[in-house]
């Protein structure tokens, strides 16, 4: 956080601090979860009670993420329900060329919904012990996630407005930007699950890591649905 602030304000050493911080955080996560997998899959410490505890923990974490997005949606609605005189009392403000919701955003909605279906397919396959089906469906989910990210990056690069373009730009990019970051996290989580699946870590009735990844992915999908309806559709031209 300190690194990011330094970088944003062009202090000397900002990038180094930011990079070091990100590296330290990522390494901590990787090593921590590597140990969780060791304790569970390899050493057998995750009894049913432990599994329940982990499930509850993941659900609560996702609830906290919902709170996080709630704030950005609040900001968006606060700005757009009663637009100020300074931006012409209309939404979207004059001069902002919005994305048509029925082009890439609608396509992205379909992509995410399909990925939600494929990750559910994967879960069913794991429970049924159908390994190859599980691999195919999880790989499909990850590919769809990557396609979504690709399309969003394309949209960002071809946008007619930036984050600095008034309150519209700020609310749009904060909400969709953080969503994109969560898509990246979710995709990584699913990729780790694919690696573990290929290594036969999951059994038909013990795969908490996968369940957590699937829940997180559904959460990402739902946030996108809200974004699509509120920011792209209602908040667009």
């Amino acid at each position: 956080a300190i690194g990011a602030v330094m970088y944003f304000h062009s202090h000397r050493g900002g990038e180094v601090m930011l990079f070091a911080g990100l590296l330290a955080t990522t390494l901590s996560m990787a090593i921590w979860w590597r140990d969780v997998v060791r304790e569970s899959t390899f050493e057998g410490h995750h009894t049913v009670v432990v599994q329940e505890g982990l499930r509850n923990g993941v659900i609560l974490f996702i609830v906290s993420e919902v709170m996080f997005f709630f704030a950005f949606f609040w900001a968006f609605f606060s700005a757009s329900f009663c637009p100020t005189i300074e931006i012409g009392a209309i939404w979207p403000p004059k001069g902002i060329e919005c994305f048509s919701p029925w082009e890439v955003p609608a396509l992205n909605t379909m992509i995410l919904l399909l990925s939600g279906a494929s990750v559910t397919w994967c879960h069913h396959a794991i429970v049924a012990g159908k390994h190859s089906n599980a691999v195919i469906s999880l790989a499909l989910t990850i590919v769809l996630a990557a396609i979504f990210t690709g399309f969003q990056l394309f949209e960002y690069s071809s946008a007619q407005f930036s984050i600095s373009d008034g309150i519209y730009g700020s609310t749009f990019y904060m909400a969709t930007g953080f969503h994109g970051f969560h898509v990246f996290i979710g995709t990584t989580f699913l990729a780790v699950c694919l690696a573990r699946l290929l290594s036969f870590h999951f059994t038909t009735d013990h795969h908490v890591g996968f369940e957590a990844a699937a829940w997180y992915w559904h959460f990402v999908d739902v946030v996108w649905l809200f974004l699509f309806v509120a920011v792209y559709w209602w908040g667009g031209a």
Partner: protein, 88 residues
């Protein structure tokens, strides 16, 4: 001591009439509505100041002078964020 103004000097103090669309204490949108309505009226009546006099009087009363000055400058510069009559 009877102080009474001569009737010639009677001053009527009034502002824009109450508008139920702007029922709150914050009358900023009310001022904005009249300002835009005046310019729309001028556009539609070929700059007939008499036809639009009431609208002008209302916005001059409701709006802070600084706002009116800044909006007039923005109109001239083409950077006014509000509705410009004749523009899509």
């Amino acid at each position: 001591l009877a102080c009474s103004l001569p009737s010639a000097m009677e001053v009527k103090l009034e502002t824009a009439p109450v508008d139920k669309r702007f029922a709150n204490t914050n009358q900023a949108k009310h001022c904005y509505a009249y300002y835009n309505a005046y310019h729309q009226c001028m556009y539609e009546n070929n700059d007939d100041a008499e036809a639009c006099f009431k609208l002008k009087r209302n916005y001059m009363s409701l709006c802070p002078t600084k706002w009116v000055e800044s909006w007039d400058e923005q109109r001239e510069a083409g950077t006014y964020a509000g509705p410009v009559p004749g523009e899509k």
